[in-house]
């Protein structure tokens, strides 16, 4: 495949999706009964897609490695989900949501997809409320909103700090309804290990039953990959421990292009790394930045004294604090987008102003909010002459109502009381904007193979604004894919049942078994985690928050060496015919070791800075990202070619007809 056809429909931006829906092929209800669809992944994207496809009448099989669909990684999302409802009357509209998302993504996403996302966002909220998702409400009984980084309106719907949980349980309940009706058949504790392609079309998957170790063949007329993101290539990240790239990567190995692998979102407000033993990093919701102020000491001596344990943050007077986000970005202040906030924190820490033992932390301070809220609260309660102390006490109660669970979580992990001392935070790997390349119909470069949610690359560009991943997952699953997949399946009604007794299935099963055997039979020097941690360090140090050509080249070499060592020397205990978590991890790390190298190659190839991709060679004198629209305004879609470093680059030129490409400024 030489040219990437994005299949973006003709016509004005606002009419593209409606026109497209009017023109795509439909499948007659009686024929849907004869069509099978496999959905890999039961997070927001997979559950909503499977439920809707089941309801439309297709026969659906879902796969997930968790013991229940309800435990997919989506469950962990805290902050909220965006929608252009304009309930607050603060000037929101589909166009504004679209515009913020395009700008936030540093003009590296596809206009038509992003507009469609904004357009269907309102339906998501209606749908979820009808399903019984208990969003936060105001006293008048209407839905409440808050705002997130990178925007100036209040468009984020939430359910305390557990929005992802409630949205996923909503989608899971819709899925359960279809399971009860017999339209969806769930395969939990099953892992997809390969995609089966017959005559150029996706026709099924090879999966491993994680309890019995059995290798199974499953055929279908179409396969949807909704397997989430690959942030765990860094080992330490905010992702769930099981999140991995296997399903997407094996699909890539079978011919699907992998787009923009180097676009990684680093989230600015995570609990800093405390020691060697750490297995994952915990996010503190971005909503905290609505009320918290971020700072480091102005004087280096103060920072040094804090690191040595001789001085405490609370004892530094106001005039000696550097609220660097407010200083650098007066218009957005603490609410600048994630990439900007993360880089600014790194810049201060690199300059020697970090405030924990390792020098890799900044303060997130609620003192001003305690006072501000306390004053209002005291006045409302009629305490006209409340002392500062009383006001702070009242203010703490208000904050407790808003963010209590997050404060408790922070204390539990760090053993510090955030009501008394400022929180310490540092950026951590959070979300991957890259993924399988898809066209407007969410189809990959393999006909019949679709990708949804974080597993595809489409809507966020080089950076994702907060509260828009949940939106994208549900938009894809409930409202986009169920239409667009029909266009493909309309030509499949005469195909008949997909047999799994074909040479292609046999070959894929054989390949899978050989791979497992190879892993089980390696020499056995080091554990899987040993390799995963090594890879993570290479990724963080050389492909992390900032990158340069020399380091990226080194990273590619180091990863390829590590990969060779892994295949020769990894130790996988136990056997392949029972539950075996070491074997599961080994398969995933093997894929990360390939993806990591492609990641570095992609970053090396992109000689510009944009969004989450910051190349040190390309920055303004003030240290802001310097984009190169002339030469890099494209999606990098890589074609698999045995060795990741030999992957072939295909470019999808991005066309902007509705927005003007501007320097992203939040000043």
């Amino acid at each position: 495949m030489a040219v990437l056809d994005s299949k973006v429909p003709e016509g004005p931006l606002e009419e593209k999706w409606v026109n497209h829906k009017n023109n795509i092929n439909l499948v007659n209800p009686a024929n849907k009964r004869n069509i099978d669809v496999i959905v890999v992944g039961t997070g927001l994207a997979g559950s909503s897609a499977a439920a809707t496809l089941g309801e439309l009448g297709y026969n659906v099989k879902t796969f997930c490695y968790n013991d229940s669909p309800r435990r997919a990684h989506s469950i962990a999302a805290q902050g909220g989900i965006n929608a252009a409802k304009n309930y607050q009357g603060d000037g929101d509209s589909n166009y504004r949501l679209f515009y913020d998302t395009i700008k936030g993504g540093d003009y590296r996403s596809r206009e038509a997809n992003t507009y469609r996302l904004a357009e269907v966002s309102s339906n998501i909220i209606d749908q979820c409320v009808a399903q019984g998702v208990p969003f936060a409400r105001e006293y008048g009984g209407l839905l409440d909103n808050r705002s997130f980084g990178g925007v100036l309106v209040s468009r984020t719907f939430y359910a305390a700090g557990q929005t992802g949980q409630q949205l996923l349980l909503g989608a899971y309940s819709a899925l359960n309804r279809q399971i009860n009706r017999g339209k969806v058949q769930p395969f939990n504790r099953h892992e997809m290990l390969d995609l089966v392609v017959v005559d150029g079309k996706a026709r099924g998957i090879i999966a491993r039953n994680l309890v019995t170790g059995e290798i199974e063949r499953h055929g279908a007329h179409a396969v949807v990959i909704a397997s989430g993101g690959y942030g765990n290539v860094f080992f330490l990240s905010t992702n769930a421990m099981g999140s991995n790239v296997m399903a997407a990567w094996r699909t890539h190995r079978r011919g699907a292009f992998f787009a923009n692998p180097c676009y990684t979102q680093i989230h600015p407000t995570c609990i800093p790394v405390s020691g060697e033993h750490q297995s994952k990093l915990t996010l503190m919701s971005e909503s905290l930045r609505n009320d918290g102020r971020i700072w480091v000491p102005k004087k280096k001596e103060d920072a040094e004294a804090i690191r040595a344990g001789k001085l405490k943050g609370v004892n530094i007077p106001e005039e000696d604090r550097d609220y660097y986000l407010e200083r650098r970005y007066p218009a957005f202040g603490n609410l600048v987008p994630r990439d900007v906030a993360s880089r600014a924190a790194k810049e201060r820490c690199d300059a020697g102003y970090g405030v924990n033992k390792t020098g890799q932390a900044v303060y997130l301070d609620f003192e001003a909010a305690f006072k501000r809220y306390g004053k209002v609260e005291a006045l409302t309660r009629g305490h006209k002459n409340a002392s500062e102390e009383e006001m702070i006490k009242l203010g703490k109660e208000v904050i407790k109502k808003k963010y209590g669970n997050l404060f408790d979580m922070y204390q539990n992990i760090s053993d510090d009381n955030p009501y008394e001392v400022p929180m310490k935070i540092f950026p951590a790997v959070h979300y991957t904007m890259g993924g399988l390349w898809v066209d407007y119909n969410l189809q990959t470069t393999i006909p019949g193979c679709f990708a949804a949610g974080e597993a595809n690359f489409s809507d966020h560009g080089a950076n994702r604004l907060g509260a828009s991943a949940l939106m994208q997952g549900l938009a894809d699953g409930y409202f986009v894919l169920p239409y667009t997949i029909g266009d493909y399946l309309a030509n499949e009604i005469r195909t008949g049942e997909i047999s799994t007794d074909t040479p292609e299935f046999e070959q894929a099963e054989k390949d899978t078994k050989e791979r497992i055997e190879k892993l089980m039979n390696a020499s056995g020097k080091h554990s899987v985690d040993y390799y995963h941690k090594k890879l993570g360090l290479i990724m963080w140090n050389k492909c992390g928050m900032s990158r340069n050509a020399t380091d990226l080249q080194k990273a590619m070499d180091e990863i390829s060496e590590l990969r060779a060592d892994f295949w020769a020397n990894v130790r996988v205990t136990g056997s392949a015919d029972t539950k075996n978590q070491e074997l599961e991890k080994a398969g995933r790390v093997a894929d990360f070791l390939e993806l990591g190298e492609l990641f570095a190659k992609d970053a090396l190839d992109r000689n510009e800075s944009c969004g989450g991709h910051f190349r040190e060679e390309y920055q303004t004198p003030e240290g802001e990202a310097l984009r190169d629209d002339e030469n890099y305004d494209y999606v990098a879609a890589w074609e698999y070619n045995e060795n990741p470093r030999d992957a072939k680059l295909h470019k999808e030129e991005l066309v902007f007809e509705n927005v003007e490409l501007k320097t992203r400024s939040y000043k």
Binding site: S48, E55, N66, D67, S68, R70, R71, H73, I75, A76, K85, V120, I125, D126, Q127, C128, V129, Q131, G132, P134, F135, R137, E138, Y139, G140, G141, L142, A159, A160, Q162, Q165, L169, S173, N176, R177, N180, N188, V211, A240, G242, G275, H277, S279, T282, L283, M409, I413, D415, Y478, F479, G524, S527, D529, R571, T573, G574, T578, K579, Q581, E582
Partner: protein, 248 residues
């Protein structure tokens, strides 16, 4: 610190299991309980032994995967805490810690500390949902205002993570707290009222079929629930069930 771990090892559902001693050194107070288990497993692997299998995923206290009896208590000694959020600073140097899987007929052991909790899924599948089409043609979300107190109560019931600690804590292995939390969420919302009767009947029937025991109001479930799901939910479920019987 130095610990003496006694861990339940069981190769499969049909094999007999036993407690095995594992001394472990170098445990740090900042580690989570699961990170402590990671170190043990790394040691076992380096010795060529088979590591201990346990379920875990988010490590943020929200997915409900991690589950183990720690010294006889589900998720260990700290209240309102999942195992992944329990930190080793809650233990002392030299402690002996016994670690076992959930024990309930309806939760058969898969391997070591992993049990099969799919019975919970089947209870939900029996009717734990609102029958609305996923078509995008639903009415505007603000068309039906909901009293804040009610919405909040529905939310708190909905925060159950499906971990099963309530079942493990109960001497009857009853699943009432879990089931009632789901039933409450929908019963409290106007959208869920229409199907309330069928829902409660179907879910209770399924719960009984799965082999969970009956509730004898001891309240151990609430004490051990990491999310603080309240006993009021059980009362509400009983009311809903009675209503259904009268109507039905």
């Amino acid at each position: 610190m130095k610990l003496n771990l006694k861990i339940w090892r069981q190769e499969g559902p049909n094999v007999k299991g036993k407690l095995v001693d594992y001394p472990l050194d170098g445990v740090d107070g900042d580690m989570s309980f699961l990170e402590m288990m990671d170190i043990l497993n790394e040691e076992l692997i380096n010795k060529g032994d088979v590591p201990v299998e346990f379920d875990h995923d988010c490590r943020e206290g929200i997915c409900g995967s991690c589950n183990m009896m720690i010294n006889g208590e589900p998720h260990g000694p700290q209240k309102l805490t999942t195992t992944c959020q329990l930190h080793m600073r809650k233990f002392n140097d030299g402690d002996t810690i016994t670690i076992e899987p959930w024990r309930a007929k309806a939760f058969p052991v898969v391997k070591d500390l992993i049990v099969d909790r799919s019975a919970f899924d089947r209870i939900q599948q029996a009717g734990g949902y609102i029958s609305v089409n996923t078509s995008g043609n639903t009415q505007d979300a603000n068309a039906t205002p909901i009293e804040k107190e009610k919405a909040d109560e529905a939310f708190w019931s909905a925060t159950c993570i499906g971990c099963g600690a309530c079942v493990a804590a109960c001497k009857n292995a009853s699943a009432m707290l879990f089931t009632s939390a789901k039933i409450s969420q929908y019963a409290l919302l106007p959208q869920g009222e229409l199907e309330a009767t069928q829902r409660v009947e179907a879910m209770v029937r399924q719960m009984d079929e799965e082999g969970f025991g009956n509730c004898s109001n001891t309240g151990a479930c609430m004490v051990e629930c990491p999310k603080g799901i309240k006993l009021e939910n059980i009362a509400r479920m009983n009311r809903e069930y009675l209503k259904a019987e009268v109507v039905g």
